[in-house]
């Protein structure tokens, strides 16, 4: 689910309602649960709970089959109840529904009434819980069960002195902590639910199959007469809130409070309990002091934290509070539940901790999946993750620590014993987070300090605030200054996953100072694609003009490269002028340059000053002997050197130049052309050298034998051989697997060269008859071609033409994404809005137009031109028709 993906959930950050419903039922004494539906639901949920809690989890199923979907599932449920009671003698049975039961419309309360009628002696309390899998997540399911329990339990309204404590899904260890706390404060309490024993039992001589711990119905009966209810959840809706029900039905006053994680939330809970007669024991005071002391001990390291927190809303809020009071910035906060109050409840804390440390960008998302969380984490440079073990795949991909918390923990043992509540739990959680940050620090700080202060590579950053709203639900703030490493992320050649970004190679450098035996520079073959080829040479002004043109049409253009066709540094004045022009126009662009490295020592500092962040050096060998076989001659400082002499000069300059660049934080890539029988034995050594020089990546390439070059008859290197070589070298450093060996005038993404569309036209030989000026609406994806289906167009380019010239007037947006079922029930509205957008045009140019829109366009008198052509050409042709 990227920002715009709302129908596909990729790697969910949530589970379904029945999961929560049965978990809550595990907190009731001598209670069993049965899921009314097909048996997979119960099997899957047992599997997931058992893995987390490392305990037996027994959930029955009514095992509905196809017949049940036709005739109803009452018989199965009745049988199921009878069998459970006979075999296990429970005191309570919770019947939770599933997607299946809810979809076929089972009336579970009625079935339960039937059961009691057929079994009048039955003393078992049977409680129905409506928990359709599609109606919410495990978070809501948990509270629905609790609500059903208080609704169905026999209540005793006699006033008592008890305090009801209602919690969401907290760990058994945290539950034990909470119970202990209440006891030590001297509070007479009823805890709903109590998972502490049933889902974290010990090993005794006899295994007891019926959950013997938990809150009994007898205790629950007194909830109606309690003096107060504290509900440790601030997100749950009124309809699912047991506290609200007790207040409305029995007049028990209640308050909703945060989970007591962090000193503020815990203080608040303790203060509340003191109101009801609680006495703070010395032990608790000491516990609090210890947590405060730990906060101080850790504060220097805490401040390094940029956390991603994900899970159920109450959990996320609790962890954010802990982070906030410790100076850890939760830059990504996410919950899988659709939760309206999520942003408003968590943002104040995030804002307060972020601003003083100049963190202007953070994201809060509800209804999130891990696909989205991962994107945000990369974007916002998270350095620690806090949440359940479903985040492990993201953590692994991004090489981050995952502080495992909450449910489920499937890849480690002891999920049921993780603590985060109270001063003690907060301390444990804080220690784990800080130790992760320290661990990362310990490995990197020497190198960072050395680079920053000794080499002076990094420069200070200024961040300015600008708010970018993403679909109204992901407020992410924009950042201004970007480092070379950041630029790598959007560089299609240096980053294997940067394929969506485009680059332009400006062919401004015709001359070369080294003759490689594999190279033949040709200037005019539009169909051939390899390094050294371009259709025309541009001067710096033309190159600048071309850049502006392409940038206007290709918003994903991130990189300007100089890749010949000769050597960029052999034509340094052109290179410098071109880059200066573009830099002035667009200071954020990434400059990238490739060179043979001969002139690198001379121009390295100039390149840095020009803002070049990425340099590719072709270094085929580190042995002059081998170099002598590869290079015919080297022109250096006015002399032509051949043989080993030339190769030695080239090599020395390459090494010195690369070192200078990497020392100054420039990202360097080494290109190596694999030449069978010449350098193939030595490539590994070249790669090792590149590593020594702190290069980022090496790119081992196949030789493209070019007719007319010295190596034209050289044996080909197969894909398999090249991959084997790359694999072999991968042990030393990162390898480029996605090189396309581009042209010197390539334009576009690596997979889609559009250079043909951007060759400067010498003249056009279209003889046009001047016509009246007309308006045209063009459906285009690329901005260059008529290449969009009419119905899919998000925007139209409006052109005017008299048949001779075609002028771009403006872009018009069509609201592509509907705003919910109310306004966008079907496509009719969308076509209507498209028609509104273009009704003043005399024709529409599109790749294709559907049947019904065609009719409607014709009805409006708008002509349809179905074509695939360059926009200008197509518009002129249309004007002439």
């Amino acid at each position: 689910m990227g920002y715009n993906f709302t129908n596909l959930n990729v790697n969910p950050c949530k589970m379904c309602m029945p999961m929560g419903a049965v978990t809550a039922l595990y907190g009731i004494k001598r209670c069993m649960s049965i899921l009314h539906g097909s048996q997979g639901c119960s099997t899957y949920i047992r599997r997931h709970m058992a893995t987390h809690y490392n305990e037996p989890v027994d959930i029955a199923s009514s095992s509905l089959s196809e017949e049940g979907t036709v005739f109803g599932g009452a018989d199965n449920l009745l049988k199921g109840l009878a069998n459970m009671i006979r075999m296990y003698q429970p005191e309570v049975i919770g019947v939770a529904t599933t997607c299946l039961a809810e979809t076929i419309g089972e009336d579970v309360p009625a079935i339960i009434r039937r059961f009691y009628m057929a079994n009048p002696d039955c003393k078992v309390k049977i409680i129905p819980v409506s928990s359709a899998g599609y109606a919410g997540t495990q978070y809501e399911g948990f509270f629905r069960s609790l609500r059903a329990i208080v609704e169905y339990a026999e209540m005793d309204e006699t006033k008592n002195n008890k305090v009801n404590i209602i919690t969401g899904a907290i760990s058994p260890a945290d539950t034990r902590y909470l119970k202990n706390l209440l006891t030590e404060l001297g509070i007479d309490y009823i805890l709903l639910p109590d998972l502490s024993e049933n889902l974290d039992g010990g090993h005794s001589d006899v295994y007891n199959r019926l959950p013997d711990g938990g809150t009994s119905l007898a205790e629950i009966a007194h909830m109606a007469g309690a003096q107060y209810t504290i509900e440790l959840s601030t997100f749950i809706s009124d309809e699912s809130s047991p506290g609200k029900y007790l207040a409305d039905t029995y007049g028990v006053p209640y308050v909703r409070m945060d989970l007591p994680t962090g000193v503020r939330a815990m203080d608040a809970l303790v203060a509340k309990l003191v109101e009801f007669g609680g006495k703070i024991p010395v032990k608790l005071q000491k516990e609090r002091e210890r947590y405060l002391d730990a906060m101080i001990d850790s504060h220097k390291y805490s401040a390094l934290g940029r956390a991603a927190v994900f899970g159920e809303p109450d959990f996320v809020k609790a962890v954010i509070q802990l982070c906030a009071e410790n100076g850890i910035v939760p830059v990504v906060s996410a919950t899988g539940s659709a939760c309206k109050m999520f942003h408003e409840q968590i943002e104040p804390d995030i804002k307060a901790v972020a601003a003083p440390v100049f963190v202007e960008r953070y994201a809060m998302v509800d209804d999130a999946d891990f696909e989205m969380i991962e994107k945000l984490m990369v974007d916002l440079k998270v350095n620690v993750m806090i949440g359940n073990s479903d985040g492990r795949r993201v953590a692994q991909r991004l090489s981050l620590d995952l502080i495992r918390c909450a449910f489920p923990i499937h890849d480690q043992i002891g999920g049921q014993r993780i603590q985060m509540l109270g001063y003690d739990g907060s301390l444990q959680l804080l220690d784990r987070i800080v130790n992760s940050l320290l661990g990362a620090r310990e490995h990197t700080f020497r190198e960072e300090l050395y680079n920053k202060y000794y080499l002076g590579g990094e420069t200070g950053k200024m961040e300015t605030q600008a708010v970018v709203e993403m679909k109204g639900e992901v407020p992410v703030m924009a950042e201004k200054v970007i480092s070379p490493a950041d630029k790598t992320e959007t560089h299609p050649c240096f980053n294997c996953s940067g394929g969506q970004y485009a680059r332009i190679h400006l062919p401004i450098a015709p001359k070369c100072n080294v003759q490689c035996n594999y190279c033949l520079r040709k200037y005019d073959c539009p169909n051939e694609s390899r390094p050294g080829v371009t259709t025309q040479i541009l001067n710096p002004e033309e190159a600048f003009a071309k850049y502006k043109l392409v940038k206007a049409n290709m918003p994903n253009l991130k990189v300007v490269g100089i890749a010949g066709p000769g050597d960029s540094l052999a034509n340094f004045s052109q290179t410098k002028q071109t880059l200066s022009l573009i830099k002035e126009y667009d200071p954020d662009v990434t400059f990238c340059l490739s060179t043979n490295g001969l002139m690198l020592p001379m121009y390295a500092q100039d390149l840095i000053d020009l803002g070049v962040s990425h340099v590719t050096v072709t270094m085929n060998t580190i042995s002059p002997k081998i170099g002598a076989q590869i290079y015919q001659y080297v022109n250096y400082m006015g002399f032509r050197y051949t043989g080993e002499q030339g190769a030695t000069i080239l090599l020395a300059n390459q090494l010195a130049g690369i070192k200078y660049l990497t020392d100054h934080g420039i990202v360097c890539k080494i290109n190596i052309v694999m030449l069978k029988g010449i350098n193939d034995e030595e490539i590994e050594a070249v790669v090792q050298k590149a590593k020594e020089l702190h290069c980022e990546i090496t790119n081992i390439m196949q030789l493209i034998p070019v007719k007319g070059s010295t190596f034209e008859d050289m044996p080909l290197v197969s894909n398999k051989e090249i991959t084997a070589m790359r694999k072999k070298c991968e042990g030393h450093m990162k390898q480029m697997y996605h090189c396309r060996q581009c042209r010197a005038d390539a334009v576009g993404t690596l997979d889609n060269d559009e250079s043909i569309n951007y060759q400067m036209k010498q003249e056009t030989n279209v003889i046009a008859i001047k016509k009246e000026r007309q308006r045209f609406a063009v459906a285009t994806k690329s901005g260059m071609l008529v290449d969009q289906h009419f119905g899919h167009a998000q925007e139209f380019y409006i052109y005017e033409s008299d048949g001779e010239t075609a002028n771009f007037i403006e872009k018009r947006n069509v609201d592509k994404y509907c705003n919910g079922p109310d306004v966008c029930e079907d496509k009719v509205d969308k076509i209507e809005s498209i028609l509104q957008t273009i009704k003043d045009c005399s024709a529409v140019l599109a790749l294709r137009v559907g049947e019904s829109p065609s009719r409607r366009l014709e009805a409006l008198g708008i002509r349809i031109v179905v074509t695939y052509d360059r926009i200008e050409e197509a518009v002129k042709k249309a004007a002439n028709q």
Binding site: N7, N9, A50, S62, E66, L81, L100, T103
Partner: protein, 529 residues
């Protein structure tokens, strides 16, 4: 009362009537036993069975690494079947979706107004994000009920994106267990994927491995052995399998069936359509691996191949000889219970026998009668309504690809001496006094532990902790507890060493199982009155 009667004793009359035919104890008479299987589970008794969706998406389709398997339904089913079987897959070509979970995450409104539109949009998004060459749609319970036409969506996706898109109506309520899902998955693969490719073979003798899901790397170990001998493995169904490989499956000479229960449909349909013979092989267990390898070589009857097979067997045996002796000495005489799947409980008995261990209890979650009693029982199996609801494809020979590898005479001769197109079932390998249970449930498992107290219990995660609470070591045979491979020669040693670890961990010394405290003999201490 014998043990069987004790197990059934507590049931109500109705339940007893049903369960008595699912519990079989072998007596000294050694008579062939009948068992009731593949019928509905009893509500409320906590069966270990999963659902149709689990069999289709979770078992058969899930391991296909280059397919976006999209769960059409509310979020739970997709989530719960996400990476749970720990089947492994390589991703050399960068296209592996095995770590992903895709779901349409249907909401209440989709249930009310239909989810087709959402499904289409989800496919568009999947194309934009991942651009797969194959998408498979698996539906969950509500989809069948609200009547979303997932086949129409699949056709639309194929036309729009020029990809392969197959829809599986594997709603959880279909059939009586995972088994229905296997059948539905088999049908879909047969109808839409197998036979659509035409990659040329590279070696003279080629095979498909059917019903190998690469749990803990079993598939890789099996493939390694076969390739070492000189076979080309065209495709594996479906562990570390791929759409790209499976579409060429029809070009192979022979099908090797590992898990009979989940994949026999494809083996039989491919025989009818393409003339490809199949063998029931078993690469779990050293002796069984040797038998399987020899039978395959005998099938092709090429002296070089037979020599290679013997050479590989000798090499592999030599490598494990020392370890095998060591573990045999340690494990000899230990008793085991094996409760898994629909084929594994048989396979693992053979492996346990390699080390002198005795299987005293065995059971299946979702097997059919032929898995217990052998293929010969098929004509006697009554087809009930639940099975009838699962489509049986009508298959006819393919004009273009039908090819026989050996002539009828040799086929008939081989059939007499090998497991060529025959599965003998589990019962024939079970000894006197042992017990077999179909669709075992929570209560019965507990009772078995009490009555038999096996030294180790091989089962799954759902009963693992209950077994351990009762003082018995357990190992998960669905996911191998992060371990594996257990297939082939080296795998057998890995299994033995894991079993050894489980049995002899010092922790057990501090635990007293309940039966150790019960007196087994009653009598008077000498001298006392």
């Amino acid at each position: 009362m014998n043990e069987r009667e004790k197990i059934l004793d507590k049931y109500s009359a109705k339940v007893f009537k049903n369960r008595k035919d699912h519990v079989v104890q072998f007596d000294n008479a050694g008579m062939p036993k009948e068992i009731a299987a593949n019928s509905r589970s009893i509500p409320g008794l906590m069966s270990n069975r999963g659902c149709c969706y689990a069999g289709c998406k979770g078992v058969v389709l899930g391991p296909l690494r280059d397919v976006v398997v999209l769960t059409h339904g509310p979020i739970g089913c997709g989530f719960y079947s996400w990476g749970t079987r720990r089947n492994k897959a390589k991703s050399e070509d960068g296209k592996s979706y095995i770590q992903y979970c895709f779901s349409t995450d249907m909401q209440e409104a989709d249930i009310v107004f239909g989810g087709e539109k959402k499904l289409r949009q989800a496919i568009e998004e999947a194309m934009e994000l991942f651009n797969p060459s194959c998408i498979m749609i698996c539906s969950t319970c509500p989809v069948g009920l609200i009547g979303d036409d997932i086949n129409a969506v699949a056709t639309w996706a194929e036309e729009k994106f020029n990809i392969k898109c197959v829809a599986y109506s594997c709603e959880g309520y279909k059939g009586v267990s995972q088994s229905a899902g296997h059948h539905i998955a088999n049908n879909g693969l047969m109808k839409s994927i197998i036979g659509t490719g035409d990659a040329p073979l590279t070696k003279k003798y080629s095979v498909n491995i059917l019903g190998e899901y690469n749990i803990g790397g079993d598939g890789w170990e099996t493939e390694r052995l076969l390739e070492k001998i000189g076979y080309e493995v065209v495709s594996i169904f479906t562990g570390d399998g791929s759409y790209e490989a499976i579409k060429n499956a029809h070009t192979a000479n022979l099908n090797l069936v590992q898990c009979h229960r989940s994949i026999n449909y494809i083996a039989e349909m491919m025989k009818t359509k393409y003339g490809i013979d199949w063998f029931k092989v078993n690469f779990i267990g050293i002796d069984e691996t040797i038998r399987s390898l020899r039978e395959i070589a005998a099938y092709f009857n090429d002296p070089t191949l037979i020599a290679n097979t013997e050479k590989v067997i000798a090499e592999e045996l030599e490598e494990v000889a020392e370890a095998r002796e060591y573990y045999k000495e340690k494990l000899h005489g230990k008793t085991a219970a094996v409760f898994v799947g629909g084929s594994r409980s048989h396979h693992y008995q053979m492996l346990l026998a390699d080390f002198g261990m005795k299987t005293i209890i065995a059971g299946y979650e979702f097997a059919h009668r032929d898995d217990y009693e052998g293929l010969e029982v098929r004509p006697n199996v009554k087809v009930d309504a639940d099975s009838r609801n699962i489509e049986e494809l009508t298959i006819t020979p393919d004009d273009k690809y039908y090819h026989l590898s050996i002539d009828k005479e040799r086929f008939d001769a081989l059939k007499l001496t090998t497991e060529l197109e025959y599965y003998k079932g589990m019962f024939k390998d079970m000894g006197d006094g042992t017990i077999a249970i179909d669709d075992f449930n929570h209560y019965e498992t507990e009772k078995l532990l009490e009555l038999f107290h096996p030294n180790i219990f091989y089962s799954g995660i759902k009963d693992k902790y209950m077994i351990q609470k009762s003082g018995t070591p357990s190992r998960q045979m669905h996911s191998y507890d992060y371990s594996g491979p257990y297939a082939g020669f080296k795998g057998a040693i890995k299994f033995a060493s894991d079993t050894y670890m489980s049995l002899f961990t010092p922790a057990w010394q501090y635990i007293t199982p309940p039966w150790r405290m019960q007196p087994t003999l009653e009598g008077k201490v000498g001298g006392a009155d």
